[in-house]
Symmetry: C2
Subunit: 172 residues, 2 copies
């Protein structure tokens, strides 16, 4: 029985497939998903209409409650990065060395958290200059693994993203 | 008779008020607005449902065709900054020293254009770290004027944004 827990840092306007597909694979593999957002027990809606329910408010959780972090893209990260608790949570996750899975626009939260200096990372094409300016090396690949951060560019990269993420979870 | 022309660099998911309100004031003041986007003669839709029609494709226009540039926010800049012609157009506008009016997420295009080093700028709260990382000084004010760039943070800043923009146009 797998008792590990993955926090999904997410809010409205998330990219539907980037939450649903990794989420489904992770749950089948064992870990429990806990949706962490701006307010507990609220319903959120993805860019293409998928809905989900936030389990815990980010201000009420701690990195020690979880074994890994998944952050889907879409415009959800743009909304999360203005919340100091969400930024702190992402920063503490990267610094904890627990696995962090960041796809598409998720790099935006890591930029605001100021944890990318010297890291290799990929992300959605619109963020290339932002990622470089944050002191990271942008790598144009379907998945990039740098210590505890697994990153991908877009929905089409999900298979490689999930594969690398599961591999990292297995290594824990 | 005012023959001046303002290019509006815009695509889908623009922030409705940030296009409509400055656009209306500018047109009443004299200048003609030309909507410049990814494809000519296409219809675009704002975040809140406003629609507009693109007059010219950005790859077919030159800074010399216009007297000033307006870039509304919303998620339109995130979509424009992956287009090399849109980025080149924004870069050449800033370098031409003609007025550039950038509100909310518009700073994203200027970041990708790499023209912000040493400038004072404001923009939407989610971009604070991106603006700093681009080498600019982020100023938390309703409007910031630095040489030819007028910038504002959000829809509520529109009155100050329009006032400063009109003043700059009058100074030309």
């Amino acid at each position: 029985m797998d008792l590990s827990k993955i926090a999904v840092l997410i809010t409205d306007r998330f990219q539907d497939r980037e939450y649903e597909q990794p989420g489904e694979v992770f749950q089948k593999a064992g870990p429990q998903l806990i949706l962490v957002g701006l307010r507990a027990n609220t319903r959120i809606t993805g860019e293409d209409g998928a809905t989900a329910r936030i389990d815990r408010a980010v201000r009420d959780v701690s990195v020690s409650d979880f074994d890994a972090l998944l952050t889907p893209g879409g415009y959800s990260p743009d909304k999360l990065r203005v919340d100091p608790d969400a930024v702190r949570f992402a920063r503490e996750f990267v610094e904890s060395r627990k696995p962090v899975f960041a796809i598409c626009h998720a790099a935006q939260i890591l930029i605001t958290a100021q944890v990318l200096k010297g890291r290799h990372l990929t992300g959605w094409l619109s963020l290339v200059q932002d990622i470089k300016n944050a002191g990271a090396e942008y790598v144009d690949a379907e998945v990039v693994v740098d210590r505890n951060i697994v990153s991908s560019r877009k929905p089409d990269d999900i298979p490689a993203f999930v594969r690398a993420s599961l591999e990292m979870l297995g290594r824990k």
